[in-house]
Symmetry: D2
Subunit: 358 residues, 4 copies
């Protein structure tokens, strides 16, 4: 009820603070006899891990995942999967500043107001460190979905700079530190982000995640629509301020005849083929079998070297500068997290579908 | 598990099809001793009701709400509130066309694929008729929130035409059939929508909903963030394709120092005042006490007179024209529905907060 | 969260008070394409209906069930099934007594303490009238379970008088007004209960419900064990004070070698046959394929003509006599309700099993 | 959805197998600013720990609990509390027997049927080892309940031997290895259980748990009745086959005037005093303020040295003897577990109550 988990049939619950002894999660509802080991999870964590280049925070964590339960002789057993990562990079430093000051744009002040207490070290529970467990759960979700469903993410906008759709290719995504599908944009972004970083500032971005091979009919038709579940899952990622599916906000400016995706008979008997995908793979809350296309807006991190106005615990006006290790563009690290969340939403939808439809 | 309800502590579950005998819902978790009667619910339904002008579908329903339980001598008792609306405008017509044809842009085909059966009459469960129950539940939610929390909605874009922020005033919203806060835009929209309607077409729009007076600290910090719950609730409304909070997608292009809302000491001892509201009233998943600002993108309805390509039940290519009563811009009717959903999210968050914090 | 529903994947939520306009429920998660009509539900309600002989309350209700949604052309559609029964026998009488008095052994006083308000008419929400909706939901559950799973109930003890196991036959259950499987006991009970009734008193009883044909492996192994779910469902029935599975409380006096049910190879390749059923069809929280055997203790109703000591709304000592229509042995009417609840538990377990195992 | 957790508002989810690397749980929904440290949890675990005398299994585990999150500077923060116990006594032994054989009376066979795989080492997930986490979560629940609510358990029957009510005193419970409140019975049990143990057999028992100081009105009135929640929680404990509240099964033989607890005005203005407690502290699903009295029947463990008939993985008839460390009477160790579960049910009920009633 405090909302530290996601999912209904496939459900994971996380715990842990940025500078506590460990972070972890329990993944429940996983079908039995799926091959799973640490080596199926670790690579996804490695993709997310900070400190890999100058554009992400220099926190150095091995983020070594341990499976504590639910797997036996290389196969899931249907019992809950306990996952754990020890926090190894807890610098014993003076937290004096952050202890008594509420950083603007951060959760410090609202946590204090809500709970009357907070673990201020490294942002505590509100730290992006929690997203490591989303990525780990996402790896388990991928094991459920199987190889037929591919989930891929990329950045399509950094600050004011968008990729060109015509130049965008999935195969370019791994060629640059930004998951950028457009090589020309990637070059531009590199210079741009260097400037942002050197200015001690930060910048937002837009991430796009696409799921291919999703079976027709996943989702529930009213409140737990597949797109509603995706919207929740994405908006729950730190720093996300907007989510759209398919044509998204652009659909507002479209006419009905331009927006509705025409259907023609498919090659398979009884199947259909869509001539466009403004729907982003979801109609009436249910998957159509087309690519599910989701975009999320990520705000610039508020942890910057540029002084901001705020208040301290005594209620006095102060100027705040966030020292330490931070990301000039947190949208970059949101890519593997968004992929993982989409995997979790789909795994849950798959099992729910199976419950009702068989 | 089939997702026909919303909420955790405050929870409502709806049932009913467009052309069945009735639609209804059960609202559970309502605190006792709140004044509530049909006359607290009916006005909100009347605002949503179609057929009020030429810009909304001409379906004529009294939509008379009945409270069947949970209220005694004018006060809630803490037991579930059963609500019912009889469907009175079920024209006995020939459904031959829609029965055998899957309308493009509609849920017809995916419902058939998922369930192997569908109540095709008027869209069945996927009809916007279901939203009447959201509005009814929203009225109950408002009773929980009390008069201190105001929730108001308006349209800020119709097709390509946006309102001017500087001309927008809440008091204008009731002056036109579009919930448009900008009188000049309203005039423009009227002519524009007449054109769309006469062309047998439809157009999308953007709705903005604002909650004022929300206490600090509502929401949960990780997966059930207040913005995540809002995103889900809004995306679950028929035809919505995007949701954003505060600066939303525009935040992607902002720098950290421009996006983070500076805080200064407030007038009340220990309180703070924010100098801007890019956050849209939510930080770290918790309400900040500022206005909660949500925008949703509504696609144009696919029910248009312009022929579209589709397939029929036999898998053959057909041309589809949606006859009958329809809205040229369903975003208009989404306004009271979005208000209601925001009320439900906040009522639920309020009770959840109380559970943990007391 | 106010707990007005049961189930996870198959879930129903009820509403309604004894003397309100109607009672009803929403059944969600029902698989599509199951044959269902009012005539599949009404007979179960008729079995439960009071007023059928001198041993049950003389309240006269047709209890005519209406399906409001979720069924189309005689088949379930996978959308929520709305069910409604209008309350037709709301005698307009003076409630003065019950309004200001808390009946001993009833929920009057605790409701008032918890909610600060109560619909005192006929017990309001705490009335056994609510169980009609359990029976209706149970009929839907039976449609999910199919004819291969048989759920049958009987009374095995009335007051101090138990049935003889050796004389008990299911075929006798319908021969008497007590669902008594032992004809000799039935004769004894009739005389006994007449005495109780004439004395203005009431008596408890023990009900046994048995499910046959349940597949192996239903249930969850830890907190949502199948027996745990059954215990909750049964204990949630009005007046139930104890639940046991298989050998139940008698198992406390057994030795391990006497209690453990020996297994031998079954006729089917790989199958097993159990030589006894102390487990009551459940091991480790999972169904074994043997008969699931549940017994529940039902207390005597507190609505009696014999004066009891209590307090009134002013906090003064009063003597209370419950006038009006009441059951001398509510255990009788608990039989169809317990059957229905077991059906609901199993339907839910079946769908949950399918979700995880496929 | 696989049911590895308990609770709604206060909720814990456990993971771990008997012979895996660790067992653990996540406790979510805990209010902030409650004092909590390992030393508040460890003593409860020590009470449950096996190997303390010849009447419990000789497995030797330190069962040292670690708090991994959710506590900061000695106080809860409102974020999830991660708890972990490393399994230190995993004897590396030959599991050949248990691997290929289904022990009668155990979950081995049904696990294999349900999941098609099982971690057979020490019973895997079905091991009583899981109950350590219930006790740990119960310690957190006690922190929520505060010192005003006392939860105490005792054994009231071992095999055929019951305690005498007139001799039973809570202060005797700690004087013997059986949590027996009756010194004379304790002496009898010691000799009796020695005989059972030496015979390589096992015996059942009945445990009674009592909660004092519970506020009036906790619980929900229909499906999530407080007694229904208790029934589920207790029946979910390994080896429990029956649960009763207050008079329980004995209520079946009572008359209404003997069973209904008379109320008289209490000393406090507006308060009431009950003259008896057949209800066991719960009426209409809500707590009455009287002691909540719960009894559970625990079957004899099926792990005995006396050969039992069973089948092996090849489907052949075999004779099974359970070697190794086992409890002659597992009811003894169920006492602290049942106390813990009652604490969890009450903590959850308290927070749920607060959500709706404030």
């Amino acid at each position: 009820m405090s909302g530290n988990g996601y999912g209904h049939t496939f459900r994971f619950t996380t715990f842990g603070e940025s500078h506590g002894p460990a972070i972890g999660c329990v993944v429940d509802g996983v079908p039995p006899r799926l091959p799973l080991s640490e080596s199926d999870i670790q690579p996804w964590l490695d993709r997310r891990r900070p400190g890999q280049n100058r554009f992400t925070t220099q926190r150095q964590e091995a983020d070594a995942i341990r499976i504590l339960s639910g797997v036996f002789e290389g196969l899931t057993t249907g019992t809950p999967i306990g996952l754990l990562i020890e926090n190894t990079d807890q610098r014993s430093k003076d937290y004096g500043d952050i202890r008594g000051t509420f950083r603007p744009g951060h959760a410090d002040w609202v946590y204090q107001q809500k709970y009357g207490i907070r673990d201020y070290r490294g942002g505590g529970r509100s730290s992006a460190r929690e997203t490591a467990m989303r990525v780990a759960a996402g790896a388990v979700a991928r094991a459920i979905l199987g190889p037929g469903i591919a989930i891929r993410g990329r950045m399509v906008q950094m600050g004011p700079h968008k990729v060109a759709k015509r130049r965008s290719r999935w195969e370019h995504v791994g060629d640059n530190p930004f998951w950028c599908p457009d090589p020309q944009a990637a070059t531009q972004w590199e210079a741009y982000l260097d400037g942002v970083r050197k200015a001690g500032s930060s910048i937002g971005g837009v991430v796009e995640v696409v799921a291919s091979g999703v079976p027709v009919g996943l989702g529930c038709p009213v409140y737990d629509k597949l797109d509603a579940e995706i919207a929740k899952a994405m908006m729950s990622i730190n720093a996300v301020k907007g989510v759209e599916i398919g044509a998204g906000f652009a659909a507002a400016a479209l006419r009905g005849e331009d927006n509705a995706d025409a259907m023609v008979p498919g090659r398979k008997k009884g199947g259909v083929r869509f001539l466009s995908n403004h729907a982003g793979g979801i109609l009436g809350g249910l998957s159509t079998g087309q690519d599910i296309v989701v975009r999320l807006a990520v705000k610039p991190t508020s942890s910057i070297l540029i002084p901001g106005r705020s208040v301290n615990a005594a209620g006095e006006a102060v100027e705040v500068v966030t020292k330490g290790r931070h990301d000039p563009c947190v949208a970059i690290r949101a890519v593997p997290v968004a992929e993982a969340m989409l995997a979790c939403v789909l795994a849950d939808a798959l099992l729910r579908h199976r419950a009702q439809i068989g």
